[in-house]
């Protein structure tokens, strides 16, 4: 078998294992951080410091009865959570954890990630549609509108970084950055970083843009009718998506695996964890944004800014090219 295929297979196995682990860890981190921000302990009974709580939650979810509403479409209904979870495995492959430490060496690594994260939108729609529930459908429609809208500034801000680096290959982008923070891309593209973070919040349905999952005022969202492991898969997929966007942010803006003293993968994990912690803090600090304001932010603010940023970057890149050549 060719070496790349073996590499991809090993990567897939490692990703599959770690995604489960990430889900468990993130559940614990989220609940502990929520607790401490609210000056209460969070889980502390199950296991030391509540470390076994996510395991207990997972066992509970697995043990629940899987039932389907009456007139729901069975194929689509059960396809939706699976579809939300499967692409996630692919998304981790091009990410470089260290020097030459990635599963897939592909020239279009970034495009791969962006393309497959679009499949998550399909799963939202299927989930809401197949539930045969008008509230679920309303929630799914809103979720789709939100996800589709926020993909554009995401793409544009990321393109600006790729213009500077000259390639869509994630390994190359990381190599171009240096060891110290002032050599990272965040210094040259701060606006793109901000736009990227906001769009990432919108893409992954995290607060303050979490209308699809927490708008319990009226529509309980696309996952109303799911219980047990169906809900668990949606949940897991959300956390995994969060990790993916944070990893991409680290790779593109924060220097990937670069850093003094400690080995590459350690720095990578550290930076991703820091960004995840920031996202968790956002959830517990801010109230929710109203739906039309959400779309307003996207179309009126993020997209024009991202386009302006892109054009400015393109201008400077070309300028640098011509002056250097001369």
């Amino acid at each position: 078998m060719p070496a790349e295929l073996i590499r991809i297979l090993i990567g897939l196995v490692a990703v599959a294992l770690s995604v489960g682990l990430i889900g468990l860890v993130m559940v614990w981190v989220e609940r502990k951080v929520a607790g401490h921000v609210q000056r209460r302990p969070g889980p502390y009974e199950v296991g030391p410091y509540g470390l076994l709580q996510p395991l207990a939650d997972a066992l509970k979810l697995v043990g629940k009865q899987l039932f389907m509403p009456d007139n729901a479409d069975p194929i689509l209904f059960w396809l939706a959570p699976v579809l939300s979870f499967l692409p996630v495995l692919l998304l981790f492959l091009p990410l470089p954890l260290g020097d030459e430490l990635f599963a897939l060496d592909i020239n279009l690594g970034l495009l791969l990630i962006l393309a497959f994260s679009g499949l998550a939108v399909l799963s939202l729609l299927l989930g809401g549609w197949a539930s045969n529930n008008k509230y679920g459908l309303l929630g799914a429609a809103r979720a789709v509108a939100q996800s589709v809208a926020y993909e554009i500034p995401l793409l544009l801000s990321v393109l600006a970084v790729c213009f500077v680096a000259g390639s869509l290959n994630l390994a190359t982008v990381v190599k171009e950055q240096g060891t110290w923070p002032w050599n990272w891309n965040i210094m040259t593209q701060p606006l793109a970083f901000l736009i990227y973070i906001v769009s990432a919040l919108g893409e992954t349905n995290r607060a303050p843009f979490d209308l699809p999952e927490a708008e319990s005022e009226l529509t309980a969202g696309f996952h109303t009718e799911y219980s047990g492991m169906g809900f668990g898969l949606f949940f897991l997929a959300e956390y995994a998506n969060m990790v993916v966007v944070c990893s991409v942010a680290t790779v593109l803006f924060l220097g990937g695996w670069h850093g003094p003293v400690l080995p590459g993968p350690v720095w990578f994990v550290l930076k991703v964890s820091l960004l995840m912690l920031l996202l968790v803090f956002f959830r517990w600090t801010y109230p929710r944004v109203r739906f039309d304001q959400l779309l307003n932010i996207n179309w009126k603010w993020l997209m024009p800014l991202a386009v302006a940023n892109l054009m400015l970057t393109a201008f400077f890149v070309k300028l640098a090219q011509y002056t250097v050549v001369k």
Binding site: H36, V37, R39, R40, P41, Y44, W284, T285, Y286
Partner: protein
């Protein structure tokens, strides 16, 4: 011009988001306010109004001060008290003779039935903890216990006879509940 000013104002308002993060970040690092029951308990249970209990007399702390007047039952808004008076004891033949003599002489016979109640039935499931019974008792025989740890498995556990409870309780201690765990206001 106005549009630009508004746009700039919106951007400067975004600083409030950072301020909010600073507040939650600060509280993230501060000690918790939770009191981890049942290993620790709160410290302000002195003024807690638990279920009713009878107050024992000076001479016999296990005999209630109650004189079975029924004022509390009359005053209660929720009809949760029933006072069962003691029946007069059957007089012995000597006493009957003395009674008949006294009646023949026209003397007033003192009623020798003991005043304290036979049973003092209290339905805690109906009680609204208003204190009207306590305030209207002429003998000062009622007070609220500080029993915060009362729990039961069925409704019958909350309908009890206070006379029995007084007899069985350790009336010498001021608080009549099981040894409370070490009280701590909060822990770090």
């Amino acid at each position: 011009m106005n549009a630009i000013k508004e746009a700039l104002k919106t951007v400067s308002d975004l600083w409030s988001l950072m301020v909010g993060l600073k507040v939650t970040g600060k509280y993230f690092l501060e000690p918790q306010r939770t009191v981890r029951y049942p290993w620790k308990a709160v410290a302000n249970l002195d003024t807690y109004k638990g279920h009713l209990e009878l107050v024992g007399g000076m001479k016999d702390p296990f005999k209630p001060r109650c004189i079975s007047c029924g004022m509390c039952a009359l005053a209660c808004p929720s009809n949760c008290l029933t006072v069962v008076k003691k029946k007069a004891p059957k007089p012995t033949p000597e006493e009957e003779k003395a009674l008949a003599e006294a009646k023949a002489n026209g003397e007033k016979v003192r009623d020798k039935t003991p005043k304290d109640p036979e049973k003092f039935l209290y339905d805690y499931t109906l009680c609204s903890l208003c204190g009207t019974c306590m305030e209207n008792c002429p003998a000062g025989a009622l007070r609220f216990s500080k029993n915060v740890y009362m729990a039961g498995y069925s409704r019958n556990d909350f309908q009890f006879d206070l006379v029995l409870k007084l007899r069985e309780s350790d009336a010498r201690a001021p608080k009549a509940e099981p040894a409370a765990p070490a009280a701590e206001k909060s822990e770090a």
